[in-house]
């Protein structure tokens, strides 16, 4: 008989313990994000869609040194360089990137390009909604990557 009572008490306490965890979690703040109903929260160093930065004067920071392309392990950065002239100044250095493409079919978001860049021109932004039905549209041109003018 005594063993039966003990069994019931044991079961009840186990349930109480389990429920206390459940109820405790129910009352604590949620971690799950409400995307797409709510905006996503990012850690500072999240590596998303690249941004080609501008300097304080609105000039492009990229000087088309090709170091990001050299560092890229999936070979997805394509650049064509050109020279700034007095009439048309695009970047602060002597040269600028006339063409700058990143192929997001291949980019693995490793961040090596960002690390390689001597002018801090390329950074990882927090953009991540890249899915597309058309792979051709995944080659982003400079115009899509550039930060807006200040």
């Amino acid at each position: 008989m005594a063993s039966k009572v003990q069994e019931i008490i044991g079961a009840a306490s186990a349930i109480a313990k389990g429920m206390s965890v459940t109820l405790g979690e129910m009352l604590s703040p949620t971690i799950t994000e409400g995307y797409p109903d709510e905006p996503v929260r990012f850690e500072q160093r999240y590596r998303g869609l690249h941004v080609l930065e501008r300097d304080e004067n609105g000039l492009e920071k990229c000087v088309a040194c090709f170091l990001c392309a050299a560092a890229c392990p999936s070979n997805c950065i394509y650049i064509e360089a050109a020279e700034n002239t007095a009439q048309q100044r695009i970047s602060a250095g002597e040269r600028y990137a006339a063409v700058y493409n990143i192929d997001y079919n291949r980019c693995i978001f490793c961040g090596y390009c960002v690390e390689a860049c001597p002018t801090d021109a390329i950074t990882h932004g927090h953009g991540f909604e890249l899915a597309s039905y058309d792979t051709a549209s995944l080659v982003y041109r400079k115009e899509r990557l550039l930060a807006p003018r200040p």
Binding site: V63, A64, A69, A82
Partner: protein, 684 residues
């Protein structure tokens, strides 16, 4: 043979000839001593102090680049003291060197970058502002960025010693020294770009390659220059199907580091807006675009019709198409069109020379011979303008081996400066004046141009010692190959006599032939066509192409594989650089015509035709391995009398200068941009 000296470098014992510099001795045992100002072949400078090494019993560090080896010398290159010295020297060099690598065109192949990476400090101790000086443009191709210059004086030496131009100099002394061009703010020079290539840093950069790309972004094709007959190897850097630059950084080929303005920069004709990309067919009075199919069918039908009724064909070949194409063309003409009316524009009397050398085997000089010979005789050619590489070889020979140079020309030449004797006279008459001197030359190389031709060539050979070796100077990249391949009315490939000699070029352009077929030449410049039907294969609408009934757009030499034979009779391989859409190689065009005409010639593949040449043309049985690895192989000549038929014609060189290149040169905007000053002329 100088005596051998034994020394020890970093514990490795080595024996080298006396007089060897420590820096080179170290290289032989695989020890790299860093150096900026030392450059093999140029005068010693000891300006950069990068090569300091420790020598036992010497109180201070010594410069390995000026230190000859000595018996039982003990050299150490990796001691803490040496490392500190290298680090210190680099710190000095970088004191005012801008942090320009991301924009600097040298980035990625810069010796200063490499050295700093290997031997330099990780951080700079300078906090001062760097002094900025604006970049200067010295010529269409040469840019100078003074703060980047490390004052190694390589550029000054290559321009002075190597090129014989001396357009660059040093002004001021000590810390104020700077490199300056000969005309104050600009250069008037050969525009060879040698100074740019030799500069270890990005102080001298090229206007053509400027800010275009990076060395690791390009593909490289080592091919042969399409301009003059010297046959320099030029490595084309190709990105996205476009040639971005030409150079010979790996120093391979017969030319080592040398390239003149044409081999280095004159490739832009490939992208000239007037380049033909589609066949043209004359409809009514106008040339109109047509498809390949239509144009080929039209020409094949015409050829067949004329062939069947036994009409007269004339075929004019080119001095810029490959050996394979020339061989195929003459075979096409002789075996299928049944004509010996085949010729090309001749620019030097090679045939007379080979005839005169019958019984004197091994009497053709190679490019290397021009560098090694004890004496060089230059007759009737402006070598510096027309044969830049040979001219460079002559100067190097004088510098390194003290060769005696004899110049025979009625007008002043650059070679006068290094000559032991100059004779201001023409041809044989001039040589007569120094005959005794030349008779004493046991190792003589003779370079002769158009002043000596016809019967004079034999007289020349008879006048000079039997050990002399010769080069008959010709104009274009494959002028020599065109002769060897039998683009001649009276001679078959390998200089075998043709059964019935045909018409020469001069006769063909005046004759009323049924068909004139011009492959890569411009014979109707300044004259109207006389033939019934004119077919032209060309890159551009030249004066000849404009008069044609059908024009086929042809690929340039940089766009095909094959082989060229240079002025010294050395065969070298062409490697295809960029691919081109639209034009076809001359070989492909001929193959299409043959097939359409229902005639299976040999397959129009360069490799197959080359095999046939190797098998059937006398002197061309060169080692295949040498050929495919891109080295030059000297061909043999018949070594027997050559039976010429018909009168020998007056041969005239086109007298191209450094900045012209026949019809092709007109489409090279780089050449034209530097030519504007019109400084140069080649005197008759």
């Amino acid at each position: 043979m100088p005596e051998l000296v034994k020394l020890t470098i970093d514990g490795k014992e080595i024996e080298v000839p006396a007089g060897t510099l420590v820096i080179n001795a170290a290289r032989q045992v695989g020890i790299e001593i860093p150096a900026f100002c030392y450059y093999e072949g140029l005068a010693l400078q000891a300006a950069c102090r990068m090569c300091l090494v420790e020598v036992e019993k010497a109180p201070k560090l010594l410069t390995a680049c000026t230190l000859p080896v000595a018996k039982d010398m003990i050299v150490r290159t990796e001691t803490p003291q040496v490392a500190a010295a290298r680090k210190g020297m680099l710190e000095f060099l970088l004191a005012n060197h801008p942090l320009d690598c991301p924009v600097c065109d040298k980035g990625g192949e810069c010796e200063l970058q490499d050295m700093t990476f290997r031997y330099g400090a990780g951080e700079s101790r300078f906090s001062e502002e760097k002094q900025h000086i604006e970049e200067q443009q010295w010529s269409p191709v040469v840019f100078f960025d003074r703060p980047r210059c490390i004052l190694c004086f390589r550029c000054v030496r290559i321009c002075n010693e190597g090129m014989g131009v001396a357009a660059l100099g040093v002004i001021n002394r000590g810390a104020r020294s700077e490199i300056a061009p000969n005309k104050g703010d600009h250069l008037e020079c050969d525009e060879c770009g040698m100074c740019i290539d030799i500069c270890p840093v990005g102080a001298l950069t090229s206007g053509i390659y400027r800010y275009k790309t990076r060395p690791w972004e390009m593909e490289y094709a080592g091919t042969i220059c399409t301009h003059c007959a010297d046959g320099c190897k030029t490595t084309l850097s190709v990105r996205n199907g476009r040639v971005i630059r030409g150079n010979n950084r790996d120093h391979s080929g017969i030319n080592g580091e040398f390239l003149c303005v044409k081999g280095r920069y004159a490739f832009d004709f490939l992208e000239h807006p007037e380049r033909l990309h589609q066949p043209l067919v004359r409809r009514g009075v106008e040339l109109q675009h047509a498809s390949w199919k239509e144009a080929v069918a039209l020409v094949a039908a015409k050829f067949n019709e004329v062939r069947e009724r036994g009409g007269a064909f004339g075929v004019i070949g080119s001095a810029r198409t490959t050996n394979e194409e020339n061989f195929y063309l003459q075979k096409f003409a002789r075996s299928w069109l049944n004509t010996n009316n085949i010729d090309h524009r001749r620019s030097g009397d090679v045939v007379a020379l080979l005839d005169a050398l019958a019984g004197l085997p091994g009497s053709l000089a190679t490019t290397a011979d021009v560098y090694h010979a004890g004496a060089v005789l230059i007759v009737g050619a402006d070598l510096a303008q027309q044969h830049p590489l040979l001219s460079f070889q002559v100067r190097a020979n004088v510098r390194h081996h003290g060769a005696r140079v004899y110049v025979v020309h009625p007008h002043p030449q650059r070679e006068d400066k290094v000559a032991a004797q100059v004779v201001r006279a023409r041809g044989l008459a001039g040589i007569g004046q120094i005959r005794e001197k030349l008779a004493g030359e046991q190792s003589l190389v003779v370079l002769f141009g158009e002043h000596i031709q016809g019967a004079d060539v034999r007289r020349l050979v008879e006048m000079l010692p039997a050990t002399a070796r010769y080069v008959a100077l010709v104009d274009y990249a494959n002028s020599r190959g065109a002769l060897d391949m039998g683009l001649l009315p009276d001679l078959l490939p390998g200089y075998q006599p043709a059964p019935a000699p045909g018409l020469s070029l001069q006769e063909m352009v005046g004759a009323s032939l049924d068909v004139l077929w011009v492959v890569g030449a411009n014979p109707l410049q300044g004259r109207a066509r006389a033939s019934g039907f004119l077919v032209v294969q060309e890159l551009f609408l030249t004066e000849t192409a404009r008069q044609a009934d059908v024009v086929f757009p042809a690929a340039a030499a940089y766009e095909k594989t094959g082989s060229f034979t240079n002025v010294c009779g050395e065969v070298q391989r062409l490697k295809k650089g960029p691919a081109v859409a639209g034009p076809k190689t001359d070989l492909e065009i001929m193959g299409l015509l043959a097939r359409q005409m229902g005639h299976e010639l040999a397959p129009p593949l360069p490799e197959a035709v080359f095999e046939e040449i190797r098998r059937s043309v006398a002197g061309y049985n060169i080692p295949y391995a040498t050929f495919v690895t891109g080295a030059a192989s000297a061909t043999q000549y018949p070594n027997g009398p050559i039976a010429r038929q018909g009168s020998s014609e007056l041969i005239r060189s086109a007298r191209d200068t450094l900045f012209t290149s026949g019809t092709l040169g007109r489409y090279c905007s780089v050449l034209n941009s530097v030519r504007e000053r019109d400084l140069v002329r080649v005197e008759e």
